[in-house]
Symmetry: C2
Subunit: 191 residues, 2 copies
C-alpha cells in the first residue's frame, strides 16, 4: 500500500500510521499489560502490516519507548511559575496525577520491565530517563539563573519522585495533596 502514496505528501500516511500504532499500543497496555503482546498484535490492532512497524521502530522495545516518551511529553509540560517552590509543587502534583492513573502506572512498569530486556531494553530505559532528567534539570537551571538555590536533579528523583513511584508501584499508601506537598517542603528545607 505504501507504494501508492504520493511522494510529495511526507507525513500524511506516515502520521496516520504512527497515530494508529500508538493508539493500538495504548489499548493493548490497558487490556493486557506490558510484556503481554507482540508486534504482530499491535500491527493487527492498528490495521497495518507487521513490516511497517518493524521498518519504522525496529523493535517492540523501541516502539514502547516511543509511545511512553510521546505520552510523557504530552502530559508533562514542565511548569515555569517563576519560583523554585512553585515549580516543584506544581511538578510534583502533576507527576502524582500522571502516575495515579492506569496509563502512568503502565509507563512506570515499562521503565522497570525494560531494564530486564538486554542491552536494547537498557538503552531504551536510559533514553527515557535521560529525557525526563533533562526536563527536570531545565527547571532547576531556571531557578539557579534567578539566584535561587535548587537541589540537584538526583535529589528531586530521590525525595519527590521515588517515594511517589514506590507508593504507586507497591500499592503502599495514597498520594494525597498534603503528602505530595510535604515531600517538596522537605526537599526544599534541606537543599
Amino acid at each position: 500500500m505504501a507504494e501508492r502514496e504520493p511522494v510529495r505528501r511526507p507525513g500524511g500516511r506516515s502520521a496516520r500510521v504512527r497515530a494508529a500504532v500508538h493508539q493500538a499500543v495504548t489499548e493493548l497496555i490497558g487490556e493486557r499489560g506490558y510484556g503481554e503482546f507482540t508486534v504482530g498484535d499491535v500491527a493487527a490492532r492498528a490495521g497495518v502490516a507487521d513490516t511497517s512497524v518493524y521498518r519504522r521502530w525496529g523493535t517492540l522495545e523501541a516502539l514502547l519507548t516511543d509511545v511512553a516518551l510521546t505520552r510523557l511529553k504530552a502530559q508533562s509540560p514542565m511548569p515555569d511559575t517563576g519560583t523554585l517552590a512553585g515549580d516543584l509543587h506544581t511538578y510534583a502534583a502533576q507527576v502524582a496525577r500522571e502516575i495515579a492513573g492506569p496509563d502512568g502506572l503502565a509507563v512506570l512498569r515499562l521503565v522497570v520491565a525494560l531494564s530486564n530486556r538486554g542491552e536494547r531494553g537498557l538503552q531504551a530505559r536510559d533514553d527515557f530517563l535521560a529525557e525526563r532528567a533533562r526536563l527536570i534539570q531545565g527547571m532547576l537551571d531556571r531557578a539557579g539563573d534567578r539566584g535561587e538555590h535548587p537541589p540537584d536533579a538526583l535529589g528531586v528523583l530521590d525525595h519527590i519522585m521515588a517515594p511517589m513511584y514506590i507508593r504507586v508501584l507497591f500499592g503502599a499508601g495514597p498520594l494525597t495533596p498534603d503528602y505530595i506537598a510535604g515531600l517538596v517542603d522537605r526537599l526544599l528545607a534541606r537543599p
Copy 2:
C-alpha cells in the same frame, strides 16, 4: 515416586523438593528474568513433576512469592543495636547490599511484576510487603519502647527504601555508603 516414600518421614522428601524447586527458580530468574519461565520449566530444572509444584504452591505467583519471602527472611535479620540510629543505619546498609546484587533486583522486579498479574498477584505482592512492613515496625516499636521517637514505617519506606529502590530499578545512580547514611540522617533529622 512419592508413593514409595516412608510415611513416617515428614519433611524429608518434602524439604528436598522445596529446596530443589527454590534453587531452580533462583537459577531461572538469574538466567532469564521474571516472567520468562513457566511452572514446567521450574519442574524440569528441579527434576520433579509439574503436578508436585502445582499441588504444593498452586500457582507460579505463589511459588515466586514463597521464594522471595524465604530469601528476604534469610538475608535480612532485622538489626537490634540498641539505638534507633544504629538500627536504621545498619538496616539501610543491609537493604542496599541486598538490592545491589542481581538477586535483590530480581526480588524488586518480582514485587513490581506481581501487581500486574490480577488479584492473585496483588495478594502475593501485598503479603510480601506486609511481611517487610511487619519487620520494620518491630524495629521501630523497640525504639519507641526505649523512649526514642521513631518515624512511622511509611516514612522509612518513603525516605530510605524508595530512593534506593528507584535508583536500582532505574539504574539511576550508585548506592555509596555516604549516600545511604545520608538518607538515614535526613529521616532522623525530621521524624
